[in-house]
Symmetry: C3
Subunit: 447 residues, 3 copies
């Protein structure tokens, strides 16, 4: 793998907050006259490589590229073609990103697949959804729509409703809302709450504090409001309004973000009383200025008879996706420049730890599936934490490294032992457990 000096969008974290805001303004410009930009990317080609079908996302990208004047080549259902002959994702993106295309959009069922594509392709890669990991352009479009509707993101009160457990869209959106200083009210369908690892990351990365919440009467989702929680980031915005965070009363809702039950990821859970937004929901006092959002496709969770209500903006989200993706692609292709700085990169800790036995604990991670034949198991290290945390360089699932060994002596210590701290960083090998260390041929001391 070579550093190709190019930009990818694998995670929403790959863009700085300032870059995102600047892209919004470019999207506004594109949107002002959608058909006027056919000279901007003339001669460039985008390839959509979809190993999992998704017409909506694919067509949005393809429309954006055509509106920029570029060409499009499409593999809409890759899992049934070259892959059936056994080709790896790494090989596919090296071929298609060789001379076929100048930018790739990849959708894949395995967590972390987009990072693999980005590493191996020598052209920019955009994540069009990789398993339960991320779907960053959906998040960009959601943020852009809300920003246009409300003129800002900081301090907004956003209700997330429905299946908060299995929706990668919701998870990415949570991180982004926290980053921009919006407050989140979770109103999950019982049993479909935000996963602990999402809450943990919200706390750690954005200082999010959680409290019980009451939202008054929101008919249609009231059944789940007993479990309402209020998530507010302590930074960057100050908690001026909420001195007491034991039970927050939300009287003004800026947006209700509804999601369908992600049945394709369920293990047969019951969803018979799933919440359903209707005229009566919109009649609630708190919803007076709310915007109704949905990533689409909807099933039954929003009544058709509120489609014409001006507060219903789910089709607008889809509409704004095209100019937003135009801005993103024009940027990654170097056709527009931004003044904003990039995000700081976290150091990637390569290889040796993996060689000693560490593996990602996410069974859907590409390192445990398609990539097992050829991928090196890399982790990003957060050594300041206690115990140190290693997050998979592909799917970002975290594991705690409670034991540290020396690459040459093959002696292992607890992470917080003085001997552990004396090992030079470049000689450290990490383990989750003594058993794992022993299996890798290391000897434990001070156990």
């Amino acid at each position: 793998m070579i550093d190709h000096g190019k930009r990818d969008l694998v995670s929403i974290e790959d863009l700085s907050t300032a870059e995102i805001l600047e892209l919004f303004h470019h999207a506004d410009e594109f949107r002002a006259n959608l058909t006027a930009w056919t000279d901007l990317c003339r001669g460039t080609i985008m390839a959509t490589l979809f190993f999992e079908p998704s017409t909506r996302t694919r067509l949005s990208f393809e429309s954006a590229m055509l509106r920029l004047g570029g060409g499009v080549i499409t593999a809409a259902d890759e899992k049934n073609t070259s892959r059936s002959k056994g080709e790896s994702l790494a090989d596919t993106v090296r071929v298609v990103g060789g001379s076929y295309a100048d930018i790739l959009v990849v959708r894949h069922p395995e967590d972390g697949a987009a990072r693999v594509a980005a590493r191996y392709a020598r052209v920019p890669v955009i994540n069009g959804g990789d398993g339960a990991h991320e779907h960053p352009t959906q998040t960009l479009c959601d943020l852009y729509t809300l920003w246009k509707e409300k003129g800002r993101l900081e301090g907004l009160e956003v209700v997330l409703c429905g299946d908060l457990r299995y929706s990668r869209t919701i998870h990415s959106f949570c991180y982004a809302l926290a980053r921009f200083g919006a407050n989140i009210v979770t109103m999950p369908y019982p049993g479909f709450e935000l996963p602990d690892y999402v809450l943990h990351r919200l706390r750690r990365d954005f200082g999010v504090q959680t409290a019980a919440a009451s939202v008054g009467d929101l008919p249609g989702i009231a059944g789940s409001s007993n479990a309402a929680a209020y998530l507010t980031a302590s930074k960057p915005h100050q908690l001026a309004l909420f001195t007491n965070l034991t039970n927050v009363e939300v009287n003004r809702i800026d947006a209700i973000y509804m999601t369908r039950a992600q049945r394709e990821r369920h293990a047969g859970e019951e969803t018979s009383n799933y919440p359903r937004l209707s005229r009566s929901t919109l009649g609630a006092a708190a919803a007076k200025d709310a915007r109704i959002m949905h990533p689409l496709p909807r099933v039954d969770e929003i009544d058709y008879d509120i489609d014409d209500d001006p507060r219903s903006i789910y089709f607008r989200q889809a509409e704004l996706g095209v100019p937003m993706r135009m801005a993103l692609m024009a940027y990654l292709l170097g056709k527009i420049q931004l003044r904003a700085a990039r995000p700081a990169a976290l150091a990637v800790m390569p290889g040796i730890a993996a060689g000693a036995g560490l593996r990602c604990r996410n069974e859907r991670c590409i390192t445990n599936n398609e990539g097992v034949r050829y991928l090196t198991r890399d982790f990003r290290l957060r050594e300041a934490e206690s115990p140190p945390v290693l997050s998979c360089a592909y799917c970002e699932r975290e594991i705690e490294a409670r034991f540290v060994g020396h690459v040459q002596s093959h002696i292992v210590h607890r992470y917080n032992a003085a001997e552990a701290r004396r090992i030079k960083p470049e000689n450290r090998v990490y383990f989750e457990s003594e058993a794992q260390a022993q299996a890798a041929g290391f000897t434990c001391q001070g156990g």
Copy 2:
């Protein structure tokens, strides 16, 4: 639903006769140099949304758009993607017709689906075939080809041969031939005659009179000629030639339009002696100046050894489809203007009758299938008929409204009772039967 002030082509009736003729002349211009028009629609995007596969129709539209300089996005087999997550056609066209595309071509297995798409999309919609309902661009291309070959349509003698029962192409073509004053000879494969509702509509809308016909010897289709019928429109052209319409002898055939057995719509009918055109058919005296037409794909009903006969124009039909579709799309996109007037719109009678129990009797209609969750059952009213006729606003299947009630008193009368006629039009509710009225909570009087 909002009136977007745009033109669609759902039914061939959506274009006036004068518009069609003017489009032929534009198609001629496009055809004169197919590759010279790439500036006309630059910047615009066509989406093909095919919920039922059809390579031929799809590629013809895509070629037409590319030759106009526009872009193309394609969902070639939609039934296996977003739809599997439960998305409605109405939502799909609102998303794709939002900012993704400037014109939509929709093919769908349910009758009336194209009208649903046209109502919900805010950009022009072209029907690429909706169930057994219509396939209007095929009809346009057929008419255009015949018009070019013969220099006119009025007064032509056109033989329709084969499966006349299940072919929507044939039905649309019949209406159009009658409208342009051509005469039709039906030579169906036994058991596959034109359905009664097609004959009824031909009589009512175009004054078509029917007679037995003899066509002399047409080898290959002679077996079915016993059942030959002659259909001639009393308007717009005068029956100068035929004073006695009991048994018309056809000595000059201008075109033989052959169709394959539509096996995918059959209920296991036998087709072993299906007619087959060959050199001997073309050798018949009456066929001397005939043109052999076929909508393609053919199976075995036309011998390969007449492909090179100059009278065989089925590949020409396909060839002319591209310039014809270029003209149509350029028109709907506002890139060319016509002097001809639009057709007069039939008033749509919305809602209340449906609320009282009326439903379309066509079980393949989208209102009884995909749309049952969200569509309002609308009907177009032909009150002048006796009894009044309501035709489904989506699939155009007709039902007779033998009972009329009052929306407030909930009292129902026979349609031809004096009391019925006294109900103000805006207060009328229609029913097919007393039982239906009673089920809707109405009381019958004078029964």
Copy 3:
């Protein structure tokens, strides 16, 4: 069928050696700035008609056409659409090559299908792979890559490794290498040797001589080196180096061309010890300046850890495919001219022999499958051989014509009888056997 006066690429033989070399230089020009050619083919449309899926080949062609500024229409999986209604390949290419597209790329599972497409379409047809017959653009790209790497083709030492039996890519490559005067070392996986008919054709058409070979130690493929054979063309280059062709020792390898096991064509053969190139292979002295080639997709036969070795050029092969295909299409579309002469055409002997009972013996040939309904069985005659050889005009499989009859007298003789030679060429009818002649109503004499 009409002679449309156009050029096709069905077999690599359809291009002369001089044309190929000139196309290489054009490909170099296109490659120098891939995005600068969008005016060259503006307004033209390429259709990819794939009756067998292949994302890689399809996307390479589509990228090439878009980079030339043309448009693309795609039927990526035709076997599931119109074909299910029973349409023939001949009809499909006549429709799509009518006005839809200006050039066709056809991939089809039956041997000889590309020739059928070329005969019926009135626009240029490129073979994108037809069964086990040919895949000429893959060969062009392979030759181009090797030529760029080594500066020449004549006299190169090329090792072919793996499944040499079922790979059409290997067969086409062999003929082309022989034609350009390269030497071939075959190192097949046991049981997967080059078929006899390939060796026969190499001998006859290029004067190739075969000898046992030793290649020293090539770890990873050593297991198969016992069976190594050395193939060298006696023309056009002189065997200056090899006076003794009993056992050639190869000390310098210019390229190792590895192929995957073509499992989809196997009859359950064992491939557990399939050769595998790795660092140790590249460490061999003879491989010092070798290039590692592979048509891709690979399965396990090349280790990922040699991907970054500068001698590994398999991704470069894919990369160079786009400019090579740009040059080819620009040429066939008349957008660039070559000074080189075309290859001499072999006369096609049409029809009557076939009418008398001859059929192609290749059961995968399109004349025995899809085309049985409509194709005339044509053969190309090589009368100078003894017995005369007839090669199928579609799939090129050869049969020996041991008996010759007279079209009018219906009397048959052995091919080498004096009476046979007295029959005028235009009256000759060929048979494989007496039985075949008798079945066709001919009488044998001198038997």
